[in-house]
């Protein structure tokens, strides 16, 4: 007699209306979206990302075609490599590799016999076994913070995700991590060299790769620098990130060099290379508007050692005082990325969308700097002696006799494309 009542009673995981759990979730999210749309409609004056207009460089109408033509020319030209020299360098590197392998193994955290230093997982396992990960200098989040979703970046920066993060355990394993970095660097160069040797065309001894005309700045480009033939020279687009952001934010002062900053911060007349690298990474973090812990991580990755957070905070404050327009620029852009949250009825910055937009805009402008510099080289060279053989984001590779006026020509052209901007160009 109760069968029909029992039939109507919702089962576990089933909504009273008869739908399953997924139906309830779908209905709830649709309701949330409807409410959000209502809020947006009710506040028409709210700034939206599509209303944001950044400054744009003054480019020729056929800029894209010119760049495509240049890329084809660079690809067709290729880079000439001396196979015998590459082979010799490769065997020298292999000797260094076996020596650094033994050196790294002689340190405590690594199992002398079984740790595979070429594998990140194997090294991480050795570090875990040695208890090094417990000593990472990042505080644990409290339960209240975890519940309220506060300080999520702490969990992200505590992790060791790649060999670039070994520095986080350097405090407990100083010699081990130093030896590990040495091995990793040698191994990466060796493997890249091995690939390079297979790319060389036996017919003309040249390498034809899209990478050379890509305008990118990847790990491969960094490794290529080690293997470049000595007969070539480079045009360095120094600190283009700083130049681009100063131009975007209309900062009137000249972009600082990392050496100048290192001199100021470390009180040394001639700062070491390590100091310069550290100052550069602090400047880059400031320019990218990174948070406290992201700055700590970025600086650590660049310097391969832990930098005291107190020092980082002081340097960031110093940069904030010197260049207030950068902070103002980010504040203005962030206004377009605030999103209302229904749970707390407040507006919060949509951090991923904001970061994505900034990173995309900066990458595009830095790419534009490299393209304009490449086109200037192309225009100021004889048709039969085209010197550009490689274009990357931060440097150009040229062959032949260096033209001393080239840096000035590129600077002048960039000043036309980015009116009011200042770009530092060097020949190396």
């Amino acid at each position: 007699m109760y069968d029909d009542i029992l039939m109507r009673r919702p089962r576990r995981g089933e909504s009273p209306a008869g739908g399953g759990h997924s139906t309830v979730v779908a209905e709830a999210s649709a309701e949330e979206a409807r409410r959000e749309m209502d809020i947006n409609r009710a506040t028409p004056s709210r700034l939206r990302p599509d209303m944001l207009q950044l400054k744009q460089p003054v480019l020729a109408a056929d800029h894209a075609e010119q760049v495509a033509r240049m890329a084809k020319q660079v690809y067709d030209r290729g880079i000439g490599f001396d196979l015998a020299k590459v082979q010799q360098k490769l065997s020298e590197l292999f000797t260094c590799l076996t020596a650094s392998d033994l050196n790294a193994r002689s340190n405590r955290p690594f199992d002398l016999l079984r740790t595979d230093l070429t594998s990140f997982e194997s090294v991480l396992y050795a570090l875990v076994k040695a208890g090094a990960l417990r000593e990472i200098n990042v505080p644990l989040r409290s339960t209240a913070d975890q519940f309220n979703g506060i300080g999520e970046d702490l969990d992200a920066v505590r992790e060791i995700l790649s060999p670039a993060d070994y520095w986080k355990v350097r405090r407990t394993q100083p010699s081990g991590v130093k030896a590990l970095y040495e091995f990793n660097d040698t191994f990466a160069r060796f493997i890249f060299g091995k690939s390079l040797i297979t790319w060389i065309q036996p017919e003309d001894g040249r390498i034809y790769r899209r990478l050379f005309a890509s305008g990118e700045s990847s790990e491969k480009v960094r490794l290529l620098e080690y293997w470049l033939p000595t007969s070539h020279y480079r045009v360095l687009l120094k600190n283009s990130l700083c130049s681009v952001l100063f131009w975007l934010s209309e900062e009137a002062s000249t972009p600082p060099t990392s050496r100048e900053l290192a001199t100021d911060w470390f009180g040394k007349r001639s700062p070491s290379q390590e100091d310069v690298v550290l100052a550069q990474s602090v400047l880059d973090s400031f320019l990218l508007n990174l948070g406290e812990w992201q700055t700590w991580e970025k600086v650590g990755r660049a310097a391969r050692k832990e930098c005291p957070r107190h020092d980082l905070e002081l340097w960031r404050e110093d940069l904030n005082k010197r260049f207030p327009t950068i902070r103002k620029f980010y504040k203005n852009v962030a206004k377009f990325y605030f999103k209302s949250t229904l749970r707390t009825f407040e507006e919060r910055l949509d951090e991923p969308a904001f970061r994505g937009f900034i990173s995309q805009a900066i990458d595009r402008l830095r790419g534009c700097v490299s393209e304009v510099a490449g086109l200037t080289v192309q225009e100021n060279s004889p048709v039969d002696g085209y010197p550009l053989v490689g274009r990357f984001r931060d440097w150009l590779l040229l062959t032949g006799k260096p033209n001393p006026k080239l840096a000035e020509l590129i600077q002048r052209r960039l000043a036309g494309v980015f009116p009011g901007g200042y770009f530092r160009i060097d020949l190396q």
């Binding site: 082979q87 292999f94 392998d101 033994l102 002398l112 016999l113 091995k194 297979t198 036996p202």
Partner: protein, 69 residues
């Protein structure tokens, strides 16, 4: 595939010093000496460790042609 053979102690063979943890290069020692030391436990096969020497060995025919140039 050739296994990774590693010295499990310091050894001196034919006037040459080998260190604990060092990988044995291919064709450096005669097969009978390798076998003897493996039996003694002075040398061990470590399959979980990638051989550095194999990076040179493991070439495609095209790569081999280039190396021989």
């Amino acid at each position: 595939m050739r296994p990774t053979i590693v010295f499990a102690r310091h050894l001196q063979i034919d006037g040459r010093q080998f260190h604990h943890g060092e990988e044995l290069a291919p064709d450096l020692l005669a097969p009978e000496i390798i076998k003897l030391n493996l039996d003694r436990g002075y040398l061990v096969e470590v399959p979980e460790r990638r051989s550095l020497f194999r990076i040179f060995e493991n070439l495609t025919p095209a790569e081999r042609r280039l190396y021989c140039l």
